[in-house]
């Protein structure tokens, strides 16, 4: 419960934050701190310089693109996502997922960027932003760059951010009528996940494009490509979806822990994938 000695700084601008992050090999951004502080309290890891980015206005806006897309600042809290009318209109699933993230207290502090960059396999947002085909807007010493969400996650608690780089915002492409689904098997009522799947389905009548992304089964979110391939071009009937979902678990080696074995997580990945796609295609809930 007691952090190791560390320095803290609260820069006034994004540019200053980037410089500070690049100034030390072991500097880390501190947004809501709802995950990072737990790591530091138990000294699972320690940090030389905490760069508090939670008040940088450049990171705290939610902008709707005219085309139905949305760009969300990395510093926007879950509570703000939950309450955003613009987001409920353009991407209701994001507001919905934010509203069940941990609890009221955490939702007032925890941020979208923090959830994504902490990159815990059981975090709420990584599978969702991959399913939605989001773009990560990164800023750093070398200037700005973007990455597809799918390429952003590189390992458990590891992202493609280079030293000194910061996630500035996340751009969600317009849904354009696509259906979304997000299903979690929690350990207890609305607690963290044993299994999770997020789905995006485009097309009316037949499935033109489909993305099914699994959480909790590996260090990073995993595209269930075998399942996607079986459904692309098919009618989204419950039977077809159920058959295809059996393929979602292929090749997965999920971790075991005190709550569930890897085999169970693999089976549940298939069930959550089925239910997420059924939700995305407007079908009954499994």
């Amino acid at each position: 419960m007691l952090l190791a000695a560390t320095d803290y700084v609260r820069p006034d601008s994004l540019q200053e934050a980037v410089e500070l992050l690049a100034s030390s090999a072991n500097a880390r951004p501190l947004a809501g701190g709802q995950s990072l502080l737990n790591v530091l309290k138990h000294r699972a890891a320690s940090v030389d310089l905490l760069v508090d980015i939670s008040r940088l206005e450049e990171l705290r806006s939610i902008e709707s693109g005219g085309d139905g897309s949305a760009t969300i600042g990395a510093g926007v809290t879950y509570a703000e996502l939950e309450r955003s009318d613009a987001l409920r209109a353009s991407h209701p699933v994001v507001a919905e997922v934010a509203s069940v993230t941990v609890d009221r207290q955490v939702r007032n502090r925890g941020t979208l960027g923090g959830n994504i960059c902490f990159a815990d396999p059981a975090s709420n947002f990584p599978p969702l932003v991959v399913a939605l085909g989001a773009t990560m807007n990164i800023t750093g010493p070398g200037g700005d760059r973007t990455l597809a969400a799918e390429d952003f996650f590189s390992g458990a608690h590891r992202t493609a951010l280079e030293p000194g780089e910061l996630l500035r915002s996340v751009t969600l492409p317009a849904l354009g009528g696509a259906g979304t689904g997000y299903r979690t098997l929690p350990l207890a009522r609305e607690s963290w996940a044993l299994a999770r799947a997020a789905a995006l389905v485009r097309g009316n009548g037949t499935i033109e494009d489909i993305r099914v992304v699994l959480g909790c089964v590996a260090g990073t979110p995993v595209r269930a490509t075998a399942m996607e391939d079986k459904l692309r071009g098919e009618q989204p009937t419950p039977e077809a979806i159920a058959d295809a979902s059996a393929a979602a678990g292929e090749g997965l080696e999920p971790p075991s822990d005190t709550h569930a074995t890897g085999d169970y997580r693999r089976d549940m990945a298939c069930v959550m994938a089925k239910r997420a796609v059924l939700e995305a295609t407007g079908g009954a809930n499994g």
Binding site: M1, H42, L185, L187, R189, D257
Partner: protein, 828 residues
């Protein structure tokens, strides 16, 4: 009353008829104001000049010899006051007194690991420094060299010959073994129409995990030689009995003070080991020392509930459903040290037949050591394991032989007219009506409607299950049962003390020997005293918490094992009645030598019945005795003090340690719970749709407080049944070592509980009350029963108290996969 009950070992007691004006009412609690305002005094809130903060360096290994400890780097850091190593403890402390007979008694238990670390998290070195942060940082400079040994984490396999020995001095991993044998179970098995055999039942390891961790501020005063413990230990006199002889402190050289305790539930009984280490450190450093446990330390190294495995269960059943009894082997995993054990090896026998009329019972009981956290008397201690097993037997018999679970229970329950009922081992169940409670619980969940809903849900992918749990909360221990474990133990009976006085200005003050942790003792005590002295609870000042120097106490003092309403309030009634008697005699003299029978106490006056003018305010009585005594007749003045103490003593005899029989507890509160669950067929996830808890605990002093205890015990039970567990990996590492993985039940996990109650006053207690609050672990039995009811035909029976989604998923699939079912029936 049972007319043909043979002469009972004790007869009904005469009950005070003065109770009723305030007793039995929902008086708002006196404790609430300070707690609602954040003005409570919890141990971590306390501070002393010159005090140092303690951080324990703990063994990361479950079983390891300590080769060497180097504290030089740590002690070199400025601001580090002192360290204490296990080696020093080996010289400064005698091993704790062991309750077990040989060979279990040979186990050497110290406050820290001396030669070997025997569970992950066992303290090895204590570091004292000027700040918490410094103590934590400096502790990382302590270098401990371990020789890692293989760990044993299975409470049954630990008795195998090749298992690593945890206590070399004991020679095996068996702490205690005994056979309890009542009636003639072999006759019953030979003559039964059916014998139901269950391979294995497992009661899992969990803890009530109070929200406030253990903590203490300990000051060994070199000037007076008195060591003061400001602590949240909930059984100080038990702690004193172990701690004093271990470090050479006389009982009167130990002062214990508690005020507000953030929940105890039994887990804060065995913290005397930490109090010992802190006392030694305070004496060595010449400073007060303060220690506050972190949550991970609490989960890994304070105390766990008993983990008990039942093997080879055999149940003789007659064709009409009458269950004659059962036979089984029980293995109870005590963890690395026996610190309240092996008392648990007899305490379950307070409820040998559970709520049922079984006559033929044999239990072959073994208490074992493993490389896991030592167990302590967790809420429902040792009885909830046994009662869960009995309800699994009844449920399985109903399921396998096609009996209706409600009718089978009503057939085998102890019948209302049989009370007081003598159990096979001589325990006297004082009163109860399990049939009425079951009907009420079924009514609360609208049983007929739920059965229809269950039929309607078929094929929907969601299976509905209705579960019943019948348990007991045996209260007011007869500590003589410890002799069944070890005939040499010098304990028997029970008792609690209370002190009631009228002070100079006529204020009534009460002190208790109990250590409340949220049960509202200040309020219920004030209600009883107000009734007896004819005043209001607001006029009674009950001193908060426990204070060994200023409060009265006896050897059994503390708050544990569902007994306050009997032992605590029994003492309060006695003390208040004595004070009343003295006030009446003084009043009668001051009112001109009138007859004492004509004098009454009302509204803060001692007055002549029928003549309200002739009334003396309490201050008048007190002022006369304390500062105007010449006005009283000499022999009256010499015979009153207005300072009255009473020790309540339950009417126990010493049990028979040969045949393991006797009256082991005085009162038997009971619980009948019904749960409605919905099981997701695809995932095994269980959701509670409805929950009814019907409770019986004799005459209630404060019904709202009683209902609160039922809600709390139900919350604990639901948490353990579905979410809370301690799992160790093969290396002996605790995998649920933080609240991230030990999922304490939340406000969404526990449904709004439907409470019901009936009242069967106890004939054997001064106020007709029964001890209550542990709750018998009813939800564990109820949810196991509900999940069993939701399983498809041919599925494996519910065999574990803990049923997370994966386990239920495996149970659901066991039928289709044609796996063995864990149960078999042979019929004549």
């Amino acid at each position: 009353m049972n007319p043909d009950a043979k002469t009972l070992p004790y007869s009904p007691v005469e009950q005070s008829e003065r109770l009723g004006q305030w007793s039995g009412k929902n008086v708002p609690r006196k404790e609430d104001k300070r707690l609602l305002k954040g003005q409570g005094a919890f141990v971590d809130d306390l501070w002393m000049h010159r005090m140092g903060y303690v951080h324990f360096v703990r063994s990361p290994h479950a079983h390891a010899r300590i080769v060497s400890i180097d504290v030089s780097k740590c002690e070199a850091v400025p601001g580090v006051y002192a360290t204490l190593t296990g080696k020093e403890v080996g010289e400064l402390q005698e091993p704790y007194f062991q309750m077990a007979p040989e060979p279990g008694a040979n186990a050497k238990d110290y406050c820290m690991a001396v030669d070997k670390a025997r569970f992950m998290g066992e303290p090895v070195v204590a570091v004292l420094a000027e700040s918490r942060e410094l103590a934590r940082d400096a502790a990382e400079l302590v270098e401990v060299e371990y020789e890692v040994l293989p760990a044993v984490v299975d409470g049954v396999a630990t008795v195998e010959p090749d298992a690593p020995i945890i206590h070399d001095e004991v020679g095996s991993n068996v702490g205690w073994h005994g056979v309890y044998d009542y009636g003639d179970v072999d006759w019953a098995l030979d003559n039964a129409d059916h014998v139901v055999r269950i391979d294995r039942l497992h009661f899992h390891r969990f803890s009530s995990a109070p929200l406030e961790c253990s903590a203490a501020l300990v000051n060994w005063d070199p000037g007076t030689g008195v060591c003061e413990f400001q602590t949240n230990n909930q059984m100080p006199m038990f702690a004193a009995m172990f701690l004093g002889p271990a470090i050479g402190l006389g009982i009167d050289h130990m002062q214990f003070v508690t005020q507000d305790i953030g929940g105890g539930f039994g887990i804060k009984i065995t913290s005397y080991t930490y109090l010992t280490a802190l006392a030694l450190l305070s004496r060595k450093a010449g400073r007060p020392v303060k220690w506050t446990e972190y949550r991970w330390e609490h989960l890994a190294a304070s105390a766990h509930g008993n983990e008990r495995t039942f093997l080879d269960v055999e149940v003789p059943v007659m064709s009409d459903g009458t269950i004659l009894g059962f036979k089984l082997r029980a293995f109870d995993d005590a963890g690395a040290y026996m610190r309240y054990e092996p008392l648990g090896a007899v305490i379950w026998s307070q409820v040998v037949p559970g709520n049922y009329r079984f006559k033929h019972i044999r239990v072959d009981y073994t208490e074992t050591f493993t490389n896991k956290c030592p167990v302590g008397p967790n809420r429902g201690y040792s009885r909830l394991q046994h009662l869960w097993m009995i309800e699994r037997i009844v449920d399985t018999v109903a399921h396998e032989l096609g009996f209706d679970p409600v009718e089978l229970r009503k057939l085998n329950y102890i019948q209302p007219e049989d009370f007081p009922y003598e159990a096979p081992n001589g325990c006297i169940y004082d009163s109860g009506d399990y049939h009425a409670m079951l009907d009420k619980a079924l009514e609360l969940v609208d049983y007929p409607a739920v059965k229809q809903r269950k039929e309607a849900a078929a094929g929907s992918g969601k299976r509905i299950g209705i579960g019943i749990g019948t348990t007991l909360d045996s209260g007011t221990n007869n500590f003589g049962q410890s002799r069944i474990i070890n005939p040499e133990l010098p304990f028997s009976g029970n008792g609690e003390a209370a002190f009631c006085k009228l002070d100079l200005y006529g204020e009534v003050t009460v002190t208790l020997g109990t250590t409340p942790q949220g049960q509202g003792h200040e309020t219920t005590t004030a209600q009883v005293v107000a009734d007896i002295l004819g005043i209001t609870p607001e006029m009674v000042h009950v001193r908060a918490g426990y204070n060994k120097a200023n409060h009265t106490y006896v050897g059994f003092s503390g708050t544990y094992a569902s007994q306050f309403a009997v032992t605590g309030l029994g003492a309060v009634i006695g003390a208040a009645e004595k004070l009343r008697g003295e006030m009446v005699r003084v009043g009668a003299a001051m009112l001109g030598g009138v007859d004492e029978d004509d004098v009454e106490l009302a509204d803060g006056f001692v007055r002549l019945a029928g003549n309200p003018e002739a009334a003396i305010p309490f201050i008048g009585i007190a002022a006369t005795v304390f500062s105007n005594v010449a006005e009283l007749p000499g022999e009256l003045a010499d015979s009153v003090s207005l300072n009255c103490r009473h020790v309540y003593r339950p009417p126990f005899a010493v049990p028979n340690s040969e045949d393991k029989t006797g009256q082991l507890t005085l009162t038997y509160a009971s619980q009948v719970h019904v749960a409605v669950v919905e099981v997701d067929e695809e995932t095994g996830a269980v959701e509670l749709l409805d929950y009814a808890a019907v409770d019986e605990c004799g005459r209630k002093v404060n019904p709202q407080i009683v209902e609160g205890q039922v809600h709390g015990a139900t919350g604990h039970g639901i948490g353990a049944a579905l979410y809370e567990t301690f799992n160790y990996d093969s290396d002996g590492q605790l995998l649920n070592a933080t609240f991230m993985d030990y999922h304490a039940a939340t406000s969404l996990d526990v449904p709004m509980i439907k409470y019901g109650d009936i009242e069967c006053p106890s004939p054997f207690t001064p106020n007709g009350a029964k001890g209550m609050g542990e709750g018998g672990g009813a939800p564990l039995s109820t949810i196991s029963s509900a999940i069993q009811d939701a399983l498809p035909e041919g599925a494996h029976i519910v065999y574990d108290t803990h049923n997370p989604p994966e386990r239920v998923y495996d149970l659901l699939r066991s039928a289709s996969l044609g796996l063995p079912r864990g149960v078999s029936v042979t019929s004549r």
